[in-house]
Amino acid sequence: MNTSVLEVEEKKELETAPIMGSEGVLKCLLEEGVDTIFGYPGGAIMPVYDSLYGYADQLNHVLSRHEQGAIHAAQGYARASGKVGVCLATSGPGATNLITGITDAMIDSTPLVCITGQVASHLLGSDAFQETDIIGISMPVTKWNFQVTQADEIPEALAKAFYIARSGRPGPVLIDITKNAQQSTFDFQYEPCTRIRSYHPYPALEEEPMAQAAKLINEAKKPYILFGQGVILSGAEQELQQLIEKAGIPAASTLLGLSAFSTRHPLYVGYTGMHGNYGPNVKTNECDVFIAIGMRFDDRVTGDVNTYAAQAKVIHIELDPAEINKNIKVDVAINGDAKQALQALIPLLNENTHEDWLAEFHECDRIEMEKAIKKSIDPQQGLLTMAEVVHRLSEYTQGKSMIVTDVGQHQMMTSRYYKFDYLRSHITSGGLGTMGFCLPAAIGAKIGAPEREVIAIIGDGGFQMTLQELGLIMQYQVGVKILILNNEFLGMVRQWQQLFFDKRYSFTEMQNPDFIALAGSYGIPAQRIEKREDLGSAFDSWLSTEGPSLLEVLVEKEENVFPMVPTGTCVSKIRLE
């Protein structure tokens, strides 16, 4: 007894030895289980970087080539590993360069803690060198933000930051730390945050809507499930499968829901949205009970909200109460975490099948195959198509790779034609549609899931927005496999120009550099192909290369993504060609 008291006192003494604020930041990260951080140094964050020098054995810092690269890498890391992504940047431009990634993480619910340096507190508001009001700037795009001006505020601020970032509907948090706070000493003590009285991340499930939902589902003739990223964020993949199988309900995925459920499952009916599959779009407006799980009725999913599932009873299982009745009025709202909600719902459901209803989806698949898919994935002549390359890659990797995409046609082709058959395998910029996201996000994904084969599928436009991160790949030999689908066009914009702007191709054609030589200058093995017959052997050498490698495929210049629901139109009016 006495000895343990002594030990405690000794320990306490050790803990309370004053340390610098900058070191306190790192100790907080270690307390939160962080082992990897992405960042870029600069004046106002230098004290933290100086402390980091002594913590290199405990904290793996990955140096990007631009702060935007660091934050997208942190996003990719978070989404691949399920942990909080941590990003460090300096004040002023360092901080503002994070904004696109923070916004992306906000709309796609990615847990991030961003730590920015700030000028000394006596200089705040004085237009000091590299001073910017990053708290003001990031306010609309963070789940929470806070400025630390004294060292002793650091532990509480960071504890709150991690708690808020990862709990409930995850999101980005920014902590701005003035240089004087980093440079003054304080007594370090860490207490993880477990509760904030104004913040209730996990609502208690209510019984009544659960019973109503069960009744609707049990009595439904044509039930239909649409699941989103909420399933992945709550780790409810198994429960989702149980629900689908027990009640025998055809299920479709949103863009961010992809890989939450195997595309090879007989009850999987495809991917929904603007460029989604024919069946899931059309059947939305024919089902009798529509069950939305962990999704937010994005306009790219719903098209015209007035006609969307208007005939159906809509059940919405959603963690964020502000999403309920936001875009689509629902009949039954289950406000709760997807995993908990499904665990409560499944026992209330009858075992069931809906074979005739499922057959209607299969008939849609047949029509879509005939009118759209076949000519996309098997054009037989002309240049390779994006759809074809993705389809072949999907077969080659058996749908087991972790796929990271950018934004545009290649992204839609991937979501359509990569047949995901492994959980947590799809990372893309969904809500914000951030070109330049892919390369750094893929780097972060590979670092977050080193055991997985991570493939970055990028267009020639998006690649050039963040290609400086090839430097990061070179320095750390991150084994990302990069696939550039090069059509020398900003393809999706060009497609819209063709369909809606009378083929006036205003500034969408691109003259590109030699990507192979470029990769070569970073020491990354690369090859370019354009012939159909070379694709298989190119995959062989590209994917069997140890470490990073790049494959550029020259594809058809004016390929279009079909089917397509034009903006704001009824999903039943989906165009097949």
Partner: protein
Amino acid sequence: MEEQLYTISILTENKPGLLNKITIVFNRRKINIRSLNVSTSEVSNVSRYTLVVNMTETEIEKVVKQIRKVVDVLGSFYYREEEIYFREIALYKLSYDLYKNNDSLADLLIAHDAKIISTEGDHLVVEKTGSKMETHDLYEALQPYDLLEFVRSGRVAISKSKRRTEAFIHELETSTSNALSIKEF
């Protein structure tokens, strides 16, 4: 759906920066805030924001839910005019000489239930508490008397509900629900 006046009452922790986080919700949707008041509440360290906006019920529900999501916001509620007691205060500056030479002006102030709060120097400051319409009526009535300065506060409002803030905060501290009502308070 028709637009109408709504009063939003928000209970928050007393923290800097929160006002900005709340007004961002309106700014993003290009909603004009007609009046805004921040004060303490009857619970220590809890602030009360009172805003007036003109919106449809569908929109106000969404906005109030978004405000509720802001960390450090304890509660966010909206009311129709008949669900609250509300007042604004207006101050009017007039020339003291004019007042001395005009009996009708004194009668006017009495008729409007307005109070003279200062006669220092050559000025007269009049206070009128009431609805926006009442303070506006006096404003109109004073136009012929060379109104030197006019200012009106934001609305303050108290709901007709019997719930107590203290009890609400206690409920918050013990609850695991985030589905706390945005309608009743």
